[in-house]
């Protein structure tokens, strides 16, 4: 499913499951944090937030990883309280009508997930930046703050929305560079589709939208290709990313750490 289709589907799924009305952020006193609070917070989180953010808050293709210690829409715990109760306008994050005690427990849990050195790779972020925009050719496909390619996801705020342990805590993002398809489930919006025209022409790219009758593809030629399916010989879906595999020969360990340090520094806005 594509961004539009997926967005509405997710929106509807969200609406289907969680659509309580907004509650004013209640400045209720925060209860003391204990291991029990954190455990209960984890359970409340899984019940109320897990469907989008993942049961352990490692993110899903609907909502970001919340283990980073950095939140796009919140800095303080009070900000988090407000975001949880009011939702985030313009996104699928809904308002949540939960008792304050549960919200504070969820916040305690989220804070507890942050491991201090998760983003500290030991790499040199300036070197990583050079690699990103130069020999690594990352910017051929990825955009950061308005510059770069269009085929891959925009990475302007990747440091605020992902951790190195994104999604599956047993896997490291570093592994993902070497085997981008082996360890991570590729969201359909980043998957690969090849269209075969009736004349036998092959067009490969990422699907921007699709339904039973038509497909809208951003090709590896960076052009948009719109087709009715009845005019195509075949539509081949592959659950793999167009992200190339970087072998250790191409991206040695120290360079990888530099690159990760650069990515971790990207928090949106100007750089």
């Amino acid at each position: 499913m594509k961004p539009i289709g997926r967005f509405v589907l997710v929106l509807s799924a969200m609406a289907a499951c969680f659509w309580p009305s907004p509650q004013h952020a209640q400045e209720s006193p925060r209860p003391p944090i204990t291991p029990d609070t954190i455990e209960r917070g984890h359970a409340f989180f899984a019940d109320n937030c897990g469907i989008c953010h993942g049961l352990d808050a490692h993110g899903g293709d609907k909502a970001p990883d919340l283990n980073t210690g950095h939140f796009k829409h919140a800095t303080s715990d009070e900000d988090l309280f407000r975001v949880i109760t009011h939702g985030i306008p313009g996104t699928i994050m809904p308002a949540n009508d939960l008792p304050p005690e549960q919200i504070w427990a969820i916040i305690a849990y989220l804070r507890s997930t942050v491991v201090a050195d998760k983003l500290s790779t030991g790499g040199d972020k300036d070197k990583g930046k050079q690699l990103f925009w130069g020999a690594g050719k990352c910017s051929d496909c990825h955009m950061v703050n308005g510059k770069g390619g269009v085929l891959g996801p925009d990475l302007s705020d990747i440091g605020a929305t992902r951790t190195i342990k994104y999604r599956d805590p047993s896997k490291e993002l570093t592994t993902g560079f070497h085997e981008p398809n082996a360890d991570y489930v590729v969201p359909i919006s980043n998957s690969t589709v090849t269209l075969i025209t009736k004349q036998g022409e092959r067009i490969t790219g990422v699907p921007k939208n699709e339904d039973t009758f038509s497909i809208q593809l951003l090709g590896t030629d960076n052009e948009i290709h719109n087709f009715l399916k009845k005019d195509l010989k075949d539509v081949i879906h592959e659950q793999k990313s167009l992200m190339p595999v970087y072998t250790e020969k191409q991206l040695e360990d120290s360079s990888l750490k530099d690159l990760l340090a650069y990515l971790a520094s990207l928090r949106g806005g100007s750089n």
Binding site: M1, L9, A16, C17, G50, I51, N209, D211, T212
Partner: protein
Amino acid sequence: MTRRRTAVLLSLILQCGMLAVWPLLASADGRNWVTYAGTEAGWHYSKLDQINTQNVDHLVLKWVFQIGDLGKFEATPLERDGVMYGTGQNNRAFALDARTGKAIWRYAPSNLPADLRLCCGTVNRGFAIQGTRLFMATLDAHVIAMDTRTGNVLWNTKAADYKLGYSFTLAPLIVKDKVIVGVSGGEYPIRGFIDAYYIDTGKRAWRFETIPAPGEPRHESWSGDSWKIGGAPAWMTGAYDPELNLIYWPTGNPAPSNYGGQRKGDNLYSNSMLAMNPDTGRLKWFFQFTPHDLWDHDATETPVLIDGMWHGKRRKLLLQANRNAFFYVLDRETGQFLSAKPFAEQNWASEITAQGRPVFNPASIPTKKSIRVCPGALGAVNWNPPSYSPATRLFYVNARENDCTIFTGGPETPTKGQFFFGSSFSPPYNEQGWGVLRAIDPASGDVKWGFKMYSVAWAGVLSTSGDLVFTGDMEGNLMAFNGNTGENLWHFQTGSPVFAAPMSYEFEGKQYIVIAAGSGLFAFGLPDAN
């Protein structure tokens, strides 16, 4: 139309197959659409055939009405003598000129609370109509009557306290002098009910609590005090058989939906079909599809009433494509179980016994260890209504495939007015579900054809005597199919996911097909002759 209808009747008489069907229960006049399902028998079927398999690809958009609200537009409007009456998001309502889509009046409640307890959006599925009165059941658990000419509120009766988790989303059903509604709220610690109100006064005529209190029969199907908060809502419109004077009302999940340790027993009358006397609310029989449900498999899907030959004997039947993935046939006079056959992939039941009782697959029982169950929490079909066509003698349903859920269940302390699931649940990361519009032969339960869609569909189905089947998808298409073959004959991009069941009516000799999508109500017809 006459010739076609004669041909249909003739074929019914000639084809003495296992299941012959008499279209006795269809509404008398095929031009209007005056109940949620078009008929009291739950068919979602139109007798009109001006639009048919030969010309459906010429359909054009006639008008669009914008309701002016966001959220899911799940309603099916009514039409009577050139005026359309509809509801929508946040209990908005309207009357339209059915030729032009121009509003005659609009209604928006001024007093809808901000802290509603809803599971699934600010939805409403439609009006019921009788004489100059319209009836709507509201998100804050009231039932209101309105004047058809002005939208003025005639009476407004509170059925329950919304703060405890009660709400209404369904279109009411009118039987004689009463308007009948069932409550939503199975996601909260509530005790479900079905209510009847006098249409003249709004006074409550009877209430049937879907969970028996101590001393009442089958109370023992709940352990401890779990009956007090055991859910069993009744959130979709039932059907009515005037000959038997019975209403058939389906019920939803026990609460908490995904953990059974706190409510040992069969949890009656959750996930059941209830046959009741509409005058008194007295239960005649019940059949429970999923006893002690652990997967949110509400049985609230539309009951479809047909009369036919069943293994050589003429019987009054009730069909239901259940959220639990089985297609059921019951005898609607007695409640006797006749058959159940899966219409979608499932792994929760290892078999259905000869008495109709499922045997749970032990690997599908939610525990603290996460397990994957199909169909998942959203079911093999959800509330979106199926359709039955006496012309093709097929039952059409939008099945959900590969739409599974990871459940992680455990005890949960209920809090009044707060969600009560007993489990966390999430879709499997690496799986993508899809929808299949399926045509089922009720006699055998066999699937005659299927049309695979790009994703799971939430739209209801309409069939017509033009041998057409209409439904919508999440990518915004309204689609028409040949009801006999499943061939896709036409589609139109509405620009928004379709969450409603289509309807059809005829006015001034022209047939219309209407569907709600996004914030709009779209009406289609054949091009005017120049």
